[in-house]
Symmetry: C2
Subunit: 147 residues, 2 copies
């Protein structure tokens, strides 16, 4: 099944990257400023709000400073039903190479292509947040179209 | 086989987008400033230079203001052998939705993931070039790691 797969290199510590992926405070600095529910850890439901749209994930797995896996939980957007998002840490001398996958898509649709580019934008926002202190979470994210 | 697929929305004309994808002058404004060979059209070999690295494509197909297809031609990087890149135009009232695919990868490797994110960066550079007059071609491209 089609998978979105990105790799980004971030000069940070595994502790700080893990914090950015597993806490409301961290997630709100690079994906969407309205994030809640992450702090309860594995099995919790995280709510990500984008104005009137709600996207929900259940935290499936967290291995401290190594890996985070979310399973899509809510109903919106419908194409995300059954998809899973994982973040794997590859620590090197220079940086942490973060491997991000959004897997189990039904098809490589135009919406998949839209999300692929949009995930790139948010991963660069995560990189900026950790390296400069300033990410670009929604609604300050980089626009990729005029819809 | 794994495919990189991005969609980006650009407020421009089909003529200007086609020019940005089929001429040395256009390509040098968003991918790499050292581009040569594109002006000869279908069957020509385009050389894209990134400092000491050369990447070559043969122009396989060009449908004016609608579609461009390149087939990888040179030896570098090896993972790109046999891959193909296509740009398809979807014209709407608001914008042109550009569908970019880099297909026929042997595997969804970490290098594939690196290129996926890097294509996103260059497609946003293309969007900026056409909408603001200023892209970020190599060597002024956005860094996605510290290698």
């Amino acid at each position: 099944m089609p998978t979105i797969y990105h790799r980004v290199g971030i000069k940070t510590s595994a502790e700080k990257l893990f914090q950015a992926l597993t806490t409301d405070q961290g997630l709100s600095q690079w994906w969407t400023h309205e994030t809640s529910g992450a702090d309860a850890g594995v099995r919790s439901i995280i709510d990500f709000k984008f104005n009137d749209s709600l996207v929900q994930f259940r935290v499936k797995e967290q291995i401290e400073n190594k890996k985070v896996v979310w399973l899509h939980y809510g109903e919106m957007p419908p194409e995300w039903s059954g998809t899973e998002i994982s973040f794997g840490f590859e620590v090197t001398d220079q940086q942490i190479l973060l491997h991000m996958k959004h897997s189990n898509w039904q098809e490589a649709s135009p919406f998949f292509a839209h999300c692929n580019l949009k995930w790139a934008v948010f991963l660069l926002s995560l990189k900026d947040y950790l390296e400069t202190g300033q990410g670009k979470p929604f609604p300050n994210d980089v626009a990729i179209d005029h819809s």
